[in-house]
């Protein structure tokens, strides 16, 4: 009837009894919206392709079944009813179905009171679902730094999936499984934090319920004050690294990034301090240095008689070269440069990021950074750094800076690479791959084909070997360490498992480049082979121990962790504390021995360094100054900054901090020195300077012994050591 009057591109339909003219290519949902009728929906968002899966927007078009209005195109003469009893009843049932599985109030409802499902259910009187509840929980995923996932609150509306794949083209999120057990999954159903998610936040702002919510971390805001200027979300979106990140997401993380101005001479951060932020320099130059003396604690004293005038002093390796000390080793710090042993100072400039480890893993600051000119920098918390690090452009820029400035130092820092020719290093700069791993992620499995060689750039890598009934940690590798050569030089398979302990970044040299390198530079080959042989031998020796001990009987007391124990025979011990006093006397009044610990049969296993199988003390050292020698003894390198993390990490209290008074630059008066207390970590050194450990020597009752548990206890248990 009105056909002749209808302008081209428009059609006439009837909406709830009202004749309306709407664009011919629109949907019923949009036609209703244009005419002031709001149809409820959960799966439809205006900026996404409609999928029609929640079915809440159904309307009656006179057909056998109702039509989902978000996906239903209008047709000329269509008669649509959006609010009949039939329609409202069906919607209410749908809400009731979803609510019966909904953890009400969900995280979104608790945080901001705007869970769309709960709001619609309340309006429809479906808040108290009559259906049976879900019996098996689908679980939560807490692995992402920025976003909390609660699969139980997920209604599979597909909004996050379209946000990720369609809106942001990040292609991380999808549906998995089928029927009632269907759910959302990141990549191959990885935990979100381990997935290729770039933390753009689009999924979270698309989510109608508490399935994907912003994670509130402790201290989400950096205090804004003079010299620290906060940002609005809109300002942030102007910065290239935040392009593509959801504005709402940035809004939620407001305060987690500030712009700071430092005047020349200002201290930006100090070594050893705990912190939670990273800095990105925009303008100006800064000096990064270590002010703690580069030296280790040396206990000197006579080897005879009682311990009259023993004293500990700080000595550098020029004066006291210890076993296996490597001359040219550089000091790794939490920035894109390494410091030289002899002159631990470097310069940072625009485009440099530092404090990444502190921010991501909460390790102490590894070095002091002082403004050399006026400096402008972003200071940011983990959520924001995570977003930035996952930004491909920023990532690329950081990687480029690293290749340009640090890779060469990094390679040269490994002594056996000193002979690499400049052209080969240039080649490597282009061909190496920079890889990142999330905490707990496997880098390589024991038995995997060995196809690459790795240098650790950031973080800690656990190298471990499996044996029946357990796992033996062979080493923790940190910045400047390398691994993978054994497999490449040897049988072509990984001999140990490599796992990221925390936020880890590696430089991967392909098997091809590696083979090229060892072919061209025979000295490199020799060096690597020597180290590989040493490592293999040491590993074998350790595994040997593991095999010879009745594991089950030892493990419960944790004694197996030890490879050398100080034991006190309680039948002889009179608790006179002579051993403790002797230890204190031997170490400037600071004992490294506490007469307390686990009991095993008649023996008390005293807490002095046990040289554990899983040396937790080595995890987290911001400058990589704690390692163990092939003898398994823990050694603190000269560049220890005294932050105390290793002492805190040792579960047995065996590492202590030893304060020294030293002269340092006085910031008030340039060029002048002032006294300051600097700490150095120490651990039981087995009194190597003495014939016998002082504690054992001092025991008047022959109760203190230092033993190797595998032989000592094996005998006691009636199982002599194998062979």
């Amino acid at each position: 009837m009105a056909a002749t009057l209808t302008p081209p591109g428009m059609i006439d339909i009837t909406l709830d009894g009202r004749s309306v003219r709407v664009p011919a290519d629109t949907t019923v949902f949009d036609a209703a919206r244009m005419n002031g009728i709001t149809i409820p929906t959960l799966c439809h968002l205006q900026n996404q392709t409609p999928v029609g899966v929640c079915r809440l927007c159904v309307v009656d078009t006179g057909a056998r079944v109702l039509a989902a209005s978000c996906v239903r195109p209008v047709e000329p003469g269509m008669k649509v009813v959006t609010n009949s009893e039939k329609v409202l009843g069906a919607r209410k049932t749908l809400l009731e179905l979803m609510m019966s599985d909904h953890p009400s109030p969900c995280a979104r409802q608790q945080n901001s009171g705007d869970c769309e499902l709960e709001t619609l259910a309340k309006a429809a009187g479906a808040s108290q679902p009559r259906f049976a509840k879900r019996t098996v929980a689908r679980g939560k995923d807490d692995s992402s730094l920025a976003i909390a996932v609660d699969h139980d609150a997920c209604i599979l509306c597909d909004r996050c999936i379209r946000g990720c794949d369609e809106v942001k083209s990040n292609f991380v999120l999808g549906r998995m499984g089928k029927s009632y057990s269907a759910g959302i999954a990141f990549d191959l159903n990885s935990p979100m934090g381990d997935s290729t998610c770039v933390s753009c936040g689009e999924c979270m702002v698309s989510c109608p319920t508490g399935a994907l919510t912003n994670k509130s971390v402790v201290g989400t805001a950096i205090v804004v004050g003079p010299g620290a200027q906060g940002f609005e979300a809109e300002d942030l979106l102007q910065i290239p690294v935040f392009k593509g990140v959801s504005g709402t997401f940035l809004e939620l993380n407001r305060g987690a990034i500030v712009k700071r101005r430092f005047r020349k001479g200002d201290v930006i951060c100090r070594e050893g301090e705990f912190g939670s932020t990273a800095f990105y320099i925009l303008e100006g130059k800064a000096k990064v240095s270590i002010s703690t003396p580069i030296a280790h604690v040396k206990t000197q004293g006579g080897a005879k008689g009682l311990f009259k005038r023993l004293s500990s002093t700080l000595v550098a390796r020029e004066e006291d070269k210890r076993e296996e000390e490597v001359r040219d080793r550089t000091i790794p710090i939490d920035a894109s440069v390494d410091l030289a042993y002899g002159n631990p100072v470097a310069e940072l400039g625009p485009g440099d990021l530092f404090g990444e480890m502190t921010c991501m893993n909460f390790y102490p600051r590894s070095a002091a950074v002082i403004a050399e000119s006026d400096v402008v920098a972003f200071e940011m918390l983990r959520n924001v750094l995570d977003i930035m690090l996952k930004n491909k452009t920023f990532r690329g820029q950081l990687d480029q800076t690293y290749r340009r400035r640090a890779l060469e130092n990094h390679l040269r820092g490994v002594p056996m690479f000193a002979d690499l020719s400049p052209d080969f290093i240039e080649h490597l700069k282009e061909s190496v791959e920079l890889q990142r791993f999330a905490p707990g992620q496997t880098i390589a499995l024991q038995g995997d084909p060995a196809d690459s060689f790795y240098l650790v750039r950031i973080g800690f890598v656990k190298i471990s070997e499996n044996y029946p009934g357990g796992e033996m940690v062979l080493a923790y590798l940190s910045r400047g360490d390398y691994f993978g050569e054994i497999g490449l030089l040897g049988g072509g398979v990984r001999t140990a498992a490599c796992t990221a302990l925390d936020h880890v970044e590696l430089v991967r040299i392909s098997g091809e480049d590696f083979r090229d390198m060892v072919a061209r530079f025979p000295s490199v080959r020799t060096g690597l082979e020597a180290v590989a042989a040493e490592r293999r031998a040491a590993n074998q020796q350790r595994m040997q121990m593991v095999h010879n001990v009745p594991i089950d009987q030892f493990l419960w007391q944790g004694l197996m962790e030890a490879q050398s124990l100080l034991i006190l025979d309680l039948q002889n011990c009179t608790r006179c504390d002579a051993c403790v006093n002797a230890c204190a006397d031997a170490h400037d009044g600071i004992t490294r021995l506490i007469r307390d610990g686990l009991r095993f049969d008649q023996y008390l296993v005293a807490t002095s360094c046990r040289q554990c199988r899983d040396p937790l003390c080595m995890v987290g050292c911001p400058v990589g100054s704690i390692r163990r020698r092939n003898s398994l003894e823990v050694i603190i390198e000269d560049w220890c900054i005294g932050c105390g993390l290793c002492a805190q990490n040792c579960p047995y209290g065996n590492i202590n901090l030893h304060p020294f008074e030293v002269m340092v630059d006085d910031p008030e008066r340039a060029g002048r020195k002032k006294p300051a207390i600097k700490q150095k970590a120490t651990s039981c050194d087995l009194c190597t300077h003495l014939k016998e450990p002082s504690c054992v020597y001092a025991c008047p009752h022959d109760a203190a012994h230092r033993v190797d548990p595998r032989t000592f206890f094996a005998e006691m248990l009636g199982q002599g050591p194998a062979k």
């Binding site: 049932t93 259906f131 599979l156 029927s179 009632y180 999954a185």
Partner: protein, 597 residues
């Protein structure tokens, strides 16, 4: 080791090479290759695949986790799956499974896993099981144990292919040398309009269940301006009780191919695909052979029979799942996606496979076309009984003396089919009820045995002709148990895309489980009945596809025809058939609770 892997691979072949290059996103071939090598899909391999194909990881996982025949974890040496649906359920599948669980109670999960599986399409030889994707029919627990033990030892196991002599069918208009007579005549005449006119005059309807007029469907596709079109044959019959297409493909493969060629010629489609369920290994071989024969004799390929017309045909083996029988889900599967039904409109006739106009018909629909064209519309009309038209293949299973597939006149009374063709109720027991077409048709009581096998007659009886999957229940059957069995089937086979079907089918199953346990207070039962009514209404009205829309049918039909039995069950814990509330039933129930892994 390699033996085990080679078994699981038989399962899902995709296309033979011709289409590969055009299938961009299809990843089944790659997944299969990986599964062939490792026995499952290791993460590292999928990551490699993602790199090579530039396919996001999530896409690979969303597909691999959707289809039951991809293993994301190493499978056991013997994976025993017991068909849990209607006909097998009526023939002791529960007891079989319980017996097997006992026999393997001390086995480690790396050796044996026993699970339920949806209908394997062997309803006439119930109970059926699959071991490492090889199907064994009419099995006893002792026999199954023997096979599984040999699989655990690493021996090769083989699926028995029962000797199937070609059975002469009335539907076949041809003698041995006359095959493809219609196509031979049609090609020189190019009388496409005449074909449509004859199909219209014959009132040929879709035989897959919906009964949509075939001439209208073909005409719609014919009128689409797009030069690229497809013809797809839906040979994915997976509704419990449905076995007729298996029979047709075994005995009349040439009629299916001819029907598809005609569809291609009439609509202008140059490519056809037979989408066959992966459990039909034998039929896949038979069809493949017939297709190769047609290529050799110039009936398929470029310039058919020397004309300027092309038509290529190939077989696509489904990666599995009842939902793939839904036409738009089937298209999604061919495209390499999760088989999730599309929102309609648009219909496949407008936007179908790879966004092109597509004819999708059931196997039986296609074979009717050459029948009508080779003989005449009058012949077709005369084949029916009581005013109905044509012949119908039906599968009869459950408690009958001679389960099988029968070619009958459309319109014959159900009594004739069940009592004459299928030999009546087994063991001289009384007929209690029958489902004219699997769970989707609901259950009719014995009193309605004279209803005619016809679209209209069954619709008027509150049921449907569907796919001719007649399942017969004798007087030892608990109808509430049968309703729960059907709901579980829908719940397990729901694709999970839309809320009413995904969540509703689970909640409905939860409620019926509670009911079968009996002792429900009357007030609670009343509240449940009203809630069930609301739920059924919402599922039927708002689900995207037929699966969710029809899922309430079995329980609604049982409430309609067997209300007193349900009441006794729920309120008074009495099972009139005496099969529930026994210790054995309770044990079996405990086992089945929850979702299948």
């Amino acid at each position: 080791m390699s033996k085990r892997t080679s078994l699981s691979v038989v399962v899902c072949r995709g296309f033979s090479t011709p289409l590969r290059a055009r299938r961009g996103a299809v990843i089944f071939d790659d997944l299969r290759a990986i599964q062939l090598r490792y026995g499952f899909l290791p993460k590292a391999e999928l990551e490699g695949l993602s790199q090579r194909n530039q396919t996001p990881l999530y896409q690979i996982h969303s597909v691999a986790s959707f289809y039951p025949h991809f293993h994301l974890a190493p499978p056991p040496k013997a994976e025993i799956r017991v068909c849990a649906d209607m006909s097998c359920h009526l023939n002791g599948a529960c007891e079989l499974r319980a017996d097997l669980e006992r026999r393997f109670a001390n086995s480690r999960p790396e050796e044996v896993q026993i699970r339920d599986v949806s209908c394997l399409g062997r309803c006439d030889h119930a109970p059926a099981i699959s071991i490492n994707d090889h199907i064994f029919t009419v099995v006893t627990a002792a026999h199954a144990e023997l096979i599984a033990r040999s699989a655990i030892r690493g021996d090769d196991i083989h699926e028995p292919h029962p000797e199937q002599a070609r059975i002469a069918c009335k539907a076949d208009p041809y003698g041995e040398d006359e095959k493809y007579g219609v196509v031979r005549k049609l090609i020189p005449s190019k009388a496409w309009d005449d074909v449509l006119a004859q199909l219209k005059a014959a009132e040929l309807k879709g035989m897959g269940g919906a009964g949509f007029p075939t001439s209208m469907k073909w005409d719609l596709v014919r009128k689409q301006p797009d030069p690229v079109k497809y013809v797809v044959c839906n040979a994915d019959e997976s509704e419990p009780g449905t076995i007729k297409d298996r029979f047709i493909m075994t005995n009349l493969p040439h009629l299916l191919i001819e029907g598809m060629i005609i569809a291609g010629l009439v609509t202008g489609a140059k490519r056809g695909i037979v989408y066959i369920r992966h459990e039909y290994h034998l039929q896949e071989e038979i069809l493949g052979e017939e297709i190769r024969r047609c290529y050799r004799s110039g009936l398929l390929g470029k310039k058919i029979l020397g004309s300027d017309l092309d038509f290529d045909l190939e077989v696509f083996v489904s990666p599995g799942g009842y939902i793939c029988g839904e036409e738009s889900a089937l298209i999604e599967a061919i495209e390499g996606h999760r088989a999730e039904p599309r929102n309609k409109p648009p219909f496949p006739g407008q936007i179908g496979l790879w966004q092109k106009p597509t004819v999708i018909n059931n196997v039986e629909t296609f074979i009717n076309v050459p029948q009508i064209l080779a003989r005449s519309v009058d012949w077709f009309v005369a084949q029916g009984a009581g005013g109905s038209r044509g012949l119908k293949f039906v599968g009869v299973s459950g408690h009958v003396a001679r389960p099988g597939i029968f070619e009958v006149s459309m319109g014959v009374p159900m009594r004739d089919v069940i009592f004459n063709h299928a030999g009546g109720v087994r063991g001289g027991r009384q007929l209690k009820s029958f489902a004219p077409s699997g769970p989707s048709s609901g259950y009719l009581p014995a009193s309605m045995i004279d209803v005619r096998l016809d679209f209209k007659a069954l619709a008027e009886a509150g049921s449907m002709l569907g796919s001719g999957a007649i399942v017969v229940c004798d007087d030892t059957t608990c109808m509430l148990d049968m309703a729960l069995n059907a709901v579980r089937f829908y719940r397990n086979e729901s694709c999970g895309k839309c809320v009413p079907c995904r969540v509703g089918s689970q909640k409905m199953a939860d409620m019926l489980v509670r009911w079968t346990q009996g002792g429900v207070p009357e007030s609670q039962y009343r509240a449940d009945l009203s809630l069930l009514g609301e739920l059924s209404q919402a599922m039927s009205l708002t689900s995207i596809c037929g699966l969710g829309q029809i899922a309430p049918a079995p329980i609604q039909s049982v409430l309609k025809h067997f209300r007193a039995e349900v009441d006794a069950h729920v309120l008074r814990s009495q099972c009139p058939s005496g099969i529930c509330f026994t210790p054995a039933a309770r044990a079996g129930e405990a086992q089945r609770l929850g979702i299948r892994p």
